[in-house]
């Protein structure tokens, strides 16, 4: 009940906030929501399955490129491009999952990196199709037709993204608390025992991998419409790592953790960018601090403090 109230309070704040801040901050908030979706989807692998992926940008990027290429070369229809992009992300996840899930831990890390680098290489090299490093500019936000607002307006687009954010959050929440979600947890805790109990653990991991890919695809679509531009950067390992950091910072294995982490990082990054261009350096330092001092993330810290308070009445 408390959680539900908190969730509504946050939602209310998100609904009201764009009315009081400038366009720049509205776009920043929009970006924050997109990063949160991306991080939460990655947490389905990292936190819920203990499968550290360094290639999650692949699904984000494939969806972004699908929208980019289709809306500039075929037609700019939301109803066509949106499902197509997410399906493409899912298809790539289905393919990569077959290869990546043969490994675990460090090897999983490396193979997901390698697979996503292949896509990056394609985007970079296949100039006639992807325009290479120049990227695809002028990707217009969709015209939904049935609603009276234009998504070109930053605030309207924010609400558009907020809608998908809420849907994605609820869907992921339902999945992780379903019987399926519990089995995922069981596989994380003890895969051999799960197999001994009769669970086809590979299939669950595979399904989870694809689900994570679908949600990453969603964040990619929302991102490309926000920026109106797609370049190989959306497939780059740096983006995969940027998705990983919020998960670690906030606390892996929960949905709220990555959300807190992503929000923190997006705003810290924004503050830092006023002083330096060395964004990745900053992220690297953040990563070190998290690993050294709060390996359980912000949520872990909160839990620890609560425990301490209980011990000392």
């Amino acid at each position: 009940m408390k959680r539900l109230i908190a969730a509504f309070a946050i939602l209310l704040a998100l609904v009201i906030l764009p009315q009081f801040v400038g366009k720049y901050y509205v776009n920043l908030l929009t970006n924050m929501l997109i990063v949160i979706i991306f991080s939460m989807s990655l947490d389905l692998l990292v936190g819920y399955l203990h499968l550290p992926s360094l290639g999650h940008a692949a699904f984000f990027g494939v969806a972004a490129y699908t929208v980019g290429i289709f809306s500039t070369k075929v037609m700019n229809s939301f109803w066509l491009n949106f499902p197509l992009a997410i399906m493409m992300a899912g298809a790539v996840a289905a393919l990569f999952g077959l290869l990546a899930l043969r490994t675990r831990a460090g090897y999983f890390f490396m193979i997901t990196l390698a697979l996503s680098e292949i896509l990056w290489g394609i985007a970079f090299r296949w100039r006639t199709f992807t325009r290479g490093d120049d990227g695809i500019p002028n990707i217009l936000r969709p015209d939904l037709g049935f609603i009276p607002w234009s998504l070109l307006d930053a605030t309207h687009y924010f609400y558009f993204v907020l809608f998908f954010f809420v849907v994605a959050f609820i869907l992921m929440y339902v999945i992780v608390s379903s019987p399926f979600g519990r089995i995922i947890l069981g596989i994380r805790e003890n895969e051999l025992r799960m197999r001994a109990l009769g669970f086809n653990t590979w299939l669950y991991k595979y399904a989870c991998f694809i689900i994570a890919g679908l949600f990453a695809g969603l964040s990619g679509v929302l991102s490309v419409y926000l920026n109106g531009f797609v370049s190989p950067a959306v497939l780059h390992v740096a983006l995969s790592a940027e998705g990983l950091l919020p998960v670690l910072l906030g606390g892996a294995g929960t949905l709220i953790g990555p959300a807190i982490g992503a929000a923190t990082i997006v705003f810290l990054e924004n503050m830092i960018s006023a002083y330096t261009e060395r964004r990745l350096l900053f992220l690297g330092v953040m990563y070190l601090i998290v690993v050294m001092f709060t390996p359980q993330g912000i949520l872990g810290l909160i839990k620890k403090m609560r425990l301490k308070r209980q011990v000392k009445p």
Partner: protein
């Protein structure tokens, strides 16, 4: 029909021949104990029966069905259950969560993504029943890692039993337990329904000969003797293996 038929099974790891043409037949409802010195291949045999390992040659039949090519979870779904030599639980979860996890498999509550787990209260009722049987109900909300070794062993066995197995493999169910705990486990195993066939590995001779109705002795990857506990006790070859040649 036999509960388990192991037919001419061989398995080697590199140059080490762990199982060498092993054949074994266990009747439905039988309590069969597998003994043998360290490195005899007992656990390897278990792993090839349960599907953790696949054999180099030979076949495994469960209740008449050839399962040699089946994966571990497929065999488990034919009501083959097992407990492990090293306790093998969901360490981060509570006692109750451990049992409901096992029940989910049995109750086919597997591919549901759209409903919260809490909307299936009957799972918890079933778990309650099992936990009470094994004297773990009071400890249901404790994390498994805080249980005593004996309780963890009990929970390990509970997990293997909730799925209503027809064949139960137990790899040293009493190892590491105190005398009192050993007695508790053996009496519970003895009380198991005759519909469950039990094959177990045991190092403790007293327990082995107390629980087992028939004994198979494995040595260097081969079956060297088979018979009732009394016959095995008298068998000169078995004495030689355990006590050394004079």
């Amino acid at each position: 029909m036999k509960a388990l038929v192991v037919d001419d099974l061989s398995k080697s790891f590199g140059g080490l021949q762990a199982l060498h043409h092993v054949s074994l037949t266990v009747d439905v409802g039988e309590r069969r104990v597998l003994i043998g010195p360290n490195g005899a291949g007992k656990t390897t045999l278990f792993h090839t029966i349960s599907g953790i390992l696949s054999p180099d040659s030979g076949a495994v039949y469960l209740f008449g069905q050839d399962v040699t090519r089946l994966l571990m979870h497929q065999r488990a779904n034919l009501q083959l259950s097992q407990t492990f030599q090293l306790i093998n639980l969901f360490k981060g979860l509570t006692v109750l969560e451990n049992v409901t996890m096992a029940l989910q498999s049995f109750k086919r509550l597997q591919y549901v993504l759209h409903k919260p787990f809490s909307s299936y209260p009957y799972i918890n009722h079933q778990a309650e029943e099992s936990l009470k049987q094994w004297d773990l109900w009071e400890k249901r909300n404790l994390p498994v890692s805080s249980l005593s070794y004996g309780d963890q062993r009990m929970l390990d066995i509970t997990l293997a039993l909730v799925s209503n197995p027809r064949l139960l493999l137990m790899d040293e169910p009493t190892s590491g337990l105190s005398t009192a705990e050993k007695r508790a486990v053996t009496s519970k195993v003895k009380a198991l329904s005759r519909e469950i066939t039990v094959l177990f590995i045991e190092h403790n001779m007293d327990v082995a000969l107390d629980l087992g109705e028939s004994v198979t002795v494995l040595h260097m990857g081969q079956v060297v003797a088979e018979g009732t506990p009394l016959e095995i006790k008298r068998d000169s070859q078995v004495k030689k293996i355990y006590l050394g040649a004079e």
